[in-house]
């Protein structure tokens, strides 16, 4: 039931153990996002993630609380990186524990779809073609909007 913003790589195994603890619920779902080597046809060598720390913390804590209420989670965790990230490094990790798989999986999807458009992080990709801020994607906005219409 917490949020972490960190410069260092995410220890996925440790995060999973801490989330599940000694008393796992019936269903645990997690999602891990990694830096991709390609973005819209351009090669990516590394990524810089700028963030607005106070607002990011607030937005992600509210998001976890919303997911908890909406999907009856017994536990949740959101970890997001900032700073300089290399290829294939972890960017984000979310985890949800619920009584049933549907709620746990949906909670992870809801948290990811929402944080992509609502949490104040900005990606800047570095590659052979230079350095470029990543633009917002219409597909991300559509995925975000789904959760509004599905109530």
């Amino acid at each position: 039931m917490s949020v972490a913003l960190q410069a260092e790589a995410i220890d996925v195994a440790a995060e999973y153990s801490a989330l599940v603890g000694h008393a796992p619920g019936a269903a645990v779902a997690t999602f891990t996002g990694y830096v991709r080597g390609e973005s819209e046809g351009r090669a990516v060598a590394s990524l810089e993630l700028e963030h607005y720390p106070e607002m990011a913390l607030r937005v992600l804590e509210e998001l976890g609380q919303q997911a908890e209420a909406r999907f009856q989670l017994s536990r949740w965790r959101i970890v997001h990186r900032f700073g300089q990230l290399g290829l294939a490094e972890t960017i984000v990790w979310v985890g949800a524990v619920a009584d049933h798989r549907g709620e746990a999986i949906s909670a992870c999807e809801f948290m990811m779809d929402t944080l992509k458009t609502d949490a104040p992080f900005w990606k800047r990709e570095q590659g052979p073609d230079g350095v470029d801020w990543v633009g917002s994607r219409e597909s991300d906005s559509r995925r975000r909007a789904r959760w509004r219409s599905e109530g």
Partner: protein, 89 residues
Amino acid sequence: MSVTIKLFSSLREALGVSEIEFDLGELDGAPLEADVAAIKAALSKRGADWQEALNQPNLVHALNHKVVYLEATVSEGDELAFFPPMTGG
């Protein structure tokens, strides 16, 4: 007392500054509070780079760490941030 203005991502880069203090006294009538639109309009007059940066499509404004519309009321001591659409995750 003034309003803290924060700029992120491409706005911060274009303007070469991440944070400034804005005195509401700079506005006509020196009001104690103003809406986001009035502050944005005043900042836009600081130069062609400010005009361009603050009038880009899809500009986001956050007041005290919450996304707001241009009509939101800003008071002394508040923190107002401007930035492009968010691209985390």
